[in-house]
């Protein structure tokens, strides 16, 4: 693809196609935020999220958005301000990564409980310690049980697309939950790819105006938000979060179809790749899906019936979608970049919980702290699926070398 330099000072290149640009995942998320023009963006810098807020700050400085950009003194305060702003009646977005999400996670739970539809761009990064700034999914797993919607992008294009879908999910009256759009640190946040962007007007029309039923700024109609719930009400209120998160799957399907009509790209909760007649299937999330697709192609060229099922939705867990695409008797390898020390890793645990009866499901962990996943490692996983299923399924580690875990 022939690329030419952008005429203005934007940190982007414009491709021949007027709407295809060379963007990093971070800049794609920032560009989506510019087009959505949120009312309030409280944020605190952290690698690898920083280029998102830097690029967005430039949009603010250039007067290209109406946004109140708030320079917070921590991620905890960033999410706290986001909850206040969203419930006050303002469309609110923020961004963070790793330790930042760990620091704000208390308030992510509260945002879900108070039904504050905050959109959060997450540059997925390993958690300390030891400190590490590179990509894995440990940080997002902190939000697993918060009530927030947790999504993963495969590349910069998906990061852009999911960011545009995010407020439509978050603010839907059946949902009203925070939505996190994850993109793998550096692999996506800092890698430039051609990204097809929509026209500003199309985005504005798609996203629509922000609406909350009882904004705090409407002083004529006072509401009490965040009341003290005793055992006689807390259970019900948390179950409402559970129900709202479950309902998000349906809303996601509808919003994805609407977005596909606009963009030509369907971002369903799950993304099957060459699954039709596959006997061996890898399930994964995030940027590794690109590598795994290449391996699937190679193995298919050799006549092996293999496929990939990529999840964009982690919470809500796309159970019906997965069941609709898999067949009993298939051998399934779950490849994920997070641990739950002392137990099976989180994605495997979710998948195995309902596939274990009719499928052979195996657990593989890769890429912690940003370690690359090579073709060879993916092939090891597919090769493993040809062997008899060990019981109970051991946790296998890809990329640790011969020694394996110490």
């Amino acid at each position: 693809m022939a690329l030419t330099a952008a005429p203005d000072s934007e940190p982007v290149w414009r491709a021949k196609h007027p709407r295809t640009r060379l963007l990093t995942g971070a800049h794609a998320a920032a560009e989506a935020m510019r087009q959505m023009d949120p009312d309030v963006v409280p944020v605190y810098p952290i690698t690898p999220q920083t280029p998102i807020v830097e690029a967005f700050a430039q949009f603010v400085a250039d007067g290209r958005v109406h946004t109140e950009l708030m320079h917070m003194e921590s991620e905890h305060s960033a999410m706290s301000a986001a909850v206040g702003a969203a419930l006050a009646g303002a469309r609110t977005m923020t961004a963070t990564a790793s330790q930042g999400l760990a620091y704000m996670i208390e308030v992510v739970y509260i945002a879900a409980g108070l039904r504050a539809p905050v959109v959060l761009a997450l540059g997925n990064r390993a958690l300390s310690g030891p400190i590490n700034i590179h990509g894995d999914h440990s940080d997002a797993m902190l939000a697993r049980d918060s009530g927030a919607v947790v999504a993963f992008a495969e590349n910069a294009q998906e990061a852009y697309d999911l960011m545009l879908m995010a407020p439509r999910l978050a603010e839907h009256s059946d949902v009203l939950l925070p939505v996190m759009v994850g993109q793998d640190g550096f692999t996506i946040t800092h890698s430039a790819e051609p990204v097809e962007t929509l026209a500003d007007e199309a985005v504005a029309a798609f996203v629509g105006p922000y609406h909350v039923a009882t904004p705090l700024l409407e002083t004529a109609h006072p509401v009490t938000e965040g009341a003290f719930a005793m055992p006689d009400s807390y259970f019900e209120l948390r179950c409402q979060v559970q129900a709202a998160n479950e309902r998000t799957l349906e809303v996601w399907e509808r919003v994805a179809e609407e977005y596909a009509a606009l963009s030509g790209r369907l971002l369903a909760p799950v993304d099957p790749y060459r699954l039709e007649d596959a006997g061996a299937v890898v399930i994964t999330m995030g940027s590794a899906a690109g590598t795994i697709k290449d391996v699937v192609d190679r193995l298919r060229d050799r006549g092996e019936k293999v496929g990939l099922l990529k999840l964009r939705a982690f919470r809500p867990f796309p159970l019906p979608q997965i069941l609709g695409l898999l067949r009993p008797g298939q051998h399934v390898a779950v490849l994920e970049r997070a641990l739950s020390p002392g137990a099976y890793p989180p994605l495997f645990a979710d998948v195995a919980s309902f596939l274990v009866r009719d499928h052979d499901v195996r657990s593989f962990v890769f890429g912690l702290g940003g370690r690359d996943l090579g073709f060879e490692e993916v092939e090891i996983a597919f090769e493993d699926l040809k062997q008899p299923a060990p019981s109970p399924a051991p946790i296998r580690y890809l990329g640790l070398g011969k020694e394996g875990p110490v």
């Binding site: 009312d39 309030v40 409280p42 109406h66 946004t67 109140e68 708030m70 320079h71 917070m72 003194e73 921590s74 905890h76 305060s77 960033a78 706290s80 301000a81 986001a82 909850v83 206040g84 702003a85 969203a86 419930l87 006050a88 009646g89 303002a90 609110t92 208390e106 308030v107 509260i110 108070l114 705090l216 700024l217 409407e218 002083t219 004529a220 006072p222 509401v223 009490t224 938000e225 965040g226 009341a227 003290f228 719930a229 005793m230 009400s233 209120l237």
Partner: protein
């Protein structure tokens, strides 16, 4: 944010009562203890503010006792998010209002006063960072710390506001303990160091002074901070009927000076004459009762610190007197002779 100080009158008690009747903002039926200073502080402040208000409340006595779902004591928009982040949450609301005005989504003439209520635990300790950030960013909000000098909601644990030698549930008395062995943090000075336009100390004992400060805070085009001493019969070991008397003793001994800092200029609002010995404040409360037995050195230390605090405050106040020269009533009138004076049992 600068310029000479403008006089602000306290709201007359009759007007305050009328406001409470016509537009009650904080209702009865809540579960705060008998004799608790907090509802007096909240009602005085909310009834003194002429504009509509939005309230954010940190976790604590006030939040727990006034919003047990599905009931509420609040007839104004009210939000509770967590313990340590009330200032940040209010920052978001205030920023939202500016963003929506800029977008034309809400009318710009809609003046709202953004009021935060938080206890000393949520302010001196776990909420200090969030408060500091909000002050630095210059939000137009009024932050009220109701300071009862410990974590009272959870059973009287020591906080950064707990005074030296006070007995709390985490600083109990024992053969090797005389209660809290740390000096309290000077939070008002920390806030003043942010160079925000309005900082004040007030007390539940002086509601006219508190009312005037609330009105001035509401008029302040930037962050305003009120540190209000609020008696806690349960935690202080006092009788509910003595709530005002005990707090007044803090003022009359100079332990809790009433002063304000306007655009970084200090002014003492009430000079006790004569300033009573600090023992009058200490002996009024059960949490200091152990000091009656041969702990003169600690009492001397507390008295010396109060004296030093007064000396510094008087120095600063004298140096800044010119700033307030134009203001009517720059010299505060003596306390009304007919009002119940500092009378202890």
């Amino acid at each position: 944010m600068s310029g000479p100080a403008v006089p602000v009158e306290p709201m007359r008690i009759r007007e305050m009562a009328r406001r409470e009747e016509s537009e009650p903002r904080f209702l009865g039926g809540h579960a705060l203890c008998a004799g608790c200073g907090i509802p007096i502080v909240v009602r005085t402040i909310l009834n003194s503010i002429p504009t509509p208000v939005v309230v954010v409340n940190a976790t604590g006595c006030l939040e727990v006792a006034t919003t047990r779902y599905p009931t509420t004591a609040w007839n104004v928009p009210w939000l509770h998010v967590a313990f340590e982040n009330a200032a940040a949450s209010m920052s978001g609301i205030e920023a939202a209002s500016r963003a929506l005005v800029r977008r034309g989504a809400i009318a710009s003439e809609q003046e709202i006063t953004f009021v935060v209520f938080a206890g000393d635990g949520g302010t001196y300790d776990i909420g200090l960072q969030s408060l500091s950030g909000a002050l630095e960013r210059g939000h137009r909000l009024m932050y009220v710390c109701y300071d009862n000098e410990a974590y009272m909601n959870t059973g009287i644990q020591r906080s950064g506001a707990t005074p030296l030698a006070a007995r709390t549930s985490t600083t109990p008395l024992g053969v090797s303990s005389l209660g809290n062995m740390h000096r309290r943090k000077d939070l008002t000075a920390i806030v003043a160091a942010h160079r925000v336009p309005y900082v004040a100390q007030a007390s539940v004992s002086d509601f006219q002074d508190l009312s005037r400060k609330a009105r001035r805070a509401a008029l302040t085009p930037g962050p305003a901070f009120l540190n209000v001493l609020s008696s806690c019969p349960l935690g202080w070991g006092t009788e509910p009927r003595d709530t005002v008397r005990v707090a007044r003793m803090a003022v009359e001994t100079g332990y809790w000076p009433l002063f304000e800092v306007i655009n970084q200029h200090y002014r003492i609002n009430y000079e006790p004459d004569p300033r009573l010995p600090v023992t009058r404040w200490l002996s009024s409360q059960g949490r200091f009762r152990h000091l009656e037995h041969d702990h003169g050195d600690i009492i001397e230390q507390i008295q010396a610190e109060v004296d030093e605090q007064w000396r510094r405050l008087q120095e600063r106040s004298a140096a800044d007197a010119h700033y307030f020269a134009a203001e009517i009533g720059a010299v505060p009138p003596p306390r009304d002779a007919t009002s119940p004076g500092p009378r202890m049992r």
